[in-house]
């Protein structure tokens, strides 16, 4: 035996064999690198325990746990890739299909045993099928129908009534002196401001667009007393709140998909995917100077649906 140890000694294989991967030529080095990786992994996993124990900052938990798992994984993958028998090994792929006779036998069993039975007792077969089929349909009723109410007319109305006070989120009634020209506030019919339905359906954006009575469309002569106009805040595209008011351009903007509505002409969409104007709420100002609604919206608010005409 020579004094000089070859870096790798394989049964029946010289160290300079061209088949050898670079890494496999020096397995001691590979082993050391992998051991280092596993050791770092182990240390970090222990450090994760320590970090958890001492309630350290969340990022240290992630860094130690993630780093630990990562280095353990690298060590294991490297062991499998460089230091285990890699083959190539070959496995035969046997056809999955059975012999034709076996297939015929199965088909025959199905037809002759089952099919023939049903053919002979057509009425019984029909009754079993019909009964189970009927149950399948009927079973949908508790499963589907109990999930929620029918829509009926609920999508066509909001809670704004003749004489509803417009209140802000805190429930304070809006007075005619509250808003300066160019200001907006989100209002609800009094009593609904903290309810789900008030928030989701009745939400209305109140704009003071001038100091004079403001007419947005023919036929809406009395809807904008002293420059107060109100539109449904539900975008007619997908029902997001139209939450942005571009004061200079007098545009209402929906931040979801950038539909823009012209506040001066009845909220006709000027840009974006919204197909319809925002419905306008007819307002009046009562003797004490509070902003109130003349009636409900004259059309359904929010996005389109089948029953909407």
């Amino acid at each position: 035996m020579s004094e000089h140890r070859t870096p790798v000694s394989l049964r029946g294989l010289a160290a300079d064999d061209p088949h050898l991967q670079g890494a496999a030529r020096r397995p001691q080095l590979v082993e050391r690198v992998l051991a280092l990786s596993l050791l770092v992994g182990l240390a970090l996993v222990v450090a994760f325990g320590a970090c958890y124990w001492t309630n350290a900052a969340p990022w240290t938990l992630g860094a130690t746990m993630g780093g630990g798992l990562f280095f353990l994984g690298v060590g294991l993958v490297g062991w499998g890739k460089y230091l285990m028998a890699r083959g190539p090994f070959v496995e035969e792929r046997h056809p999955l299909a059975s012999a034709p006779e076996e297939r015929d036998a199965l088909a025959a069993a199905l037809v002759e045993r089952g099919g023939a039975l049903v053919k002979r007792r057509r009425v019984l077969g029909g009754l079993v099928g019909g009964g189970l089929g009927a149950f399948g349909i009927v079973a949908l009723f508790p499963l589907l129908r109990s999930l929620g109410p029918l829509p009926k007319g609920t999508l066509f109305h909001t809670d704004w009534r003749a004489g509803s006070f417009a209140v802000d989120q805190t429930g304070r009634r809006i007075h005619v002196d509250d808003l300066g020209v160019g200001s907006v506030v989100t209002v609800f019919p009094e009593g609904t401001q903290n309810t789900n339905r008030g928030q989701a359906v009745d939400q209305t954006i109140l704009i003071r667009i001038s100091n004079e009575n403001f007419v947005t469309q023919p036929g809406r002569a009395t809807w904008g007393p002293q420059g107060y106009i109100a539109y449904s805040k539900l975008c007619t595209h997908l029902g997001c709140p139209v939450g942005l008011y571009e004061q200079q351009l007098e545009l209402l903007v929906c931040p979801c998909h950038q539909s823009m509505f012209n506040a001066t002409n009845g909220a006709i969409p000027e840009f974006g995917p919204a197909p319809r104007p925002l419905p306008q709420l007819p307002l009046y100002i009562d003797a004490q100077g509070f902003v109130r609604s003349q009636s409900d919206y004259h059309e359904p608010v929010g996005p389109g649906f089948w029953e909407r005409s």
Binding site: H19, L20, M84, G87, P88, P241, P275, G304, S309
Partner: protein, 511 residues
Amino acid sequence: MSDATTTPRSRRQARGRYGRVSQVVTEIDERLGVARGGRTFLDKIFPDHWSFMLGEIVLYSFVVLLVTGVFLSLYYVPSATVVTYHGSYLPLDGMPMSQAYASTVNLSFAVRAGLLMRQMHHWAADIFIGSMVVHMARVFFTGAFRKPRELNWTIGVTLLTLAIVNGFLGYSLPDDLVSGTGIRIAYSILLSIPVIGTYLAFWIFGGNFPGTVILERFFILHVLIVPLLMLGLVGAHLALLVRQKHTQFPGEGRREDNVVGSPMFPVFMAKTTGFLLIVAGVIALLGGLAQINPIWQFGPYEASRISYAVQPDWYMGFLDGALRIFPSWSFHSFGHTIPLEVTIPAVVLPGLLFGLAYAWPALERRVTKDNAMHHLLDRPSDRPRRTAAGAAVLALLATLFVASSTDVIANFFHVSLNTVLWTMRVLVLVSPFVAYPIAYRIAKEMHALHGAGRRKTPNVVTRTGEGEYRAEPAPAFADDAEVPLAPTPVPDFIAEEQPAPPPRGTRTTDR
């Protein structure tokens, strides 16, 4: 009892050749008969290729999702009941909010490792769906969905659908301002379905938006029903993979009727377990170091409030992009409305895309009339038309994804939103028709480079000892040549101890 049965050596002998392991194997085998099947399973061969690792990323991020999800479900409260927050996150102190939101903020700040688990869960979900799409693209472009694997393709497409649905459900659970707006949009999309839309929306939400039951329903769907379905389908996906054996790329010694690679145990087992740790480790690093979905900054959901410049999780991007750029075409007639501006981009488009994915194996078989079994994979350049079709769909999805950021792009580059909108409209319509011919051309050229395509089969000319020239047809692909398998040698540390220098030659490793 005789002495013979009680000495340590005799006990060892009684256990069989492999000691305690033999004993355990015997005990189990006598009851369940697992020895032969177990041995076959350990011997199972997995082909080696980097692209076969993509599916493993999907599987292991699913494991991370299940584990972190169990942790989160212990602290999350699926309730819309309004409470006043008095927790450790001071900016929200005293604010009214749903219990769902409060519990999510609490589990992020007050539960030890809670924030890490929540962020890992979110990152794992994004990686899960991302790697799923890439894995699907690999299967598509290499033709791995062909007979006999059409069923597994169908299961895979269903898993993708379920994963996207469950991603959306989970994203909605914290009841923060951004996800609440997402639910509102989903409700409006349901409403837009002709004839049954309002009924569907009312049944799913238990009434008009927002209803009172949605968090509880989304919760049970997200943590039980959908994951259970997915778990079953993942099991079926893997069982079919084992039963039908993995596909492989053509190459040295690889034929339709064999599988060449590494054995399940120990090589594949070591590599895949290590890979599980790596995937989990990377997700934990992201969860610890990269913030995702900071719901405490968004605030609790109120239907009349909205945030600006927000986008859904990436896998919803293509839908959001389609909704943004589709023109405002609404259909009103005969006393009915069909909101085409919603129905087409958000219902018809995904329906068509997923329908196409489901139908593709059958469509391709119809066109190619190819009804043979395929266990060897295609290179993408082998099938220029399929590759081009896949590239066209990916181009469409990519441009739609970019279109979900129109406002951010306009803001960032200081261009008019109108310009961005029209650019994206044109790009979305044009990109598939540009991507198709380019991908087709590249595939054709690459195919020709391999020595096939329009060229004839190459001949190899050799000169014999007598000076005679002989031309023999060579395979079109260098890789297709039948080459006997040469084993890749592996270091063997036992051999190192042997005093005699090893004889030259190759060692064949038996399995």
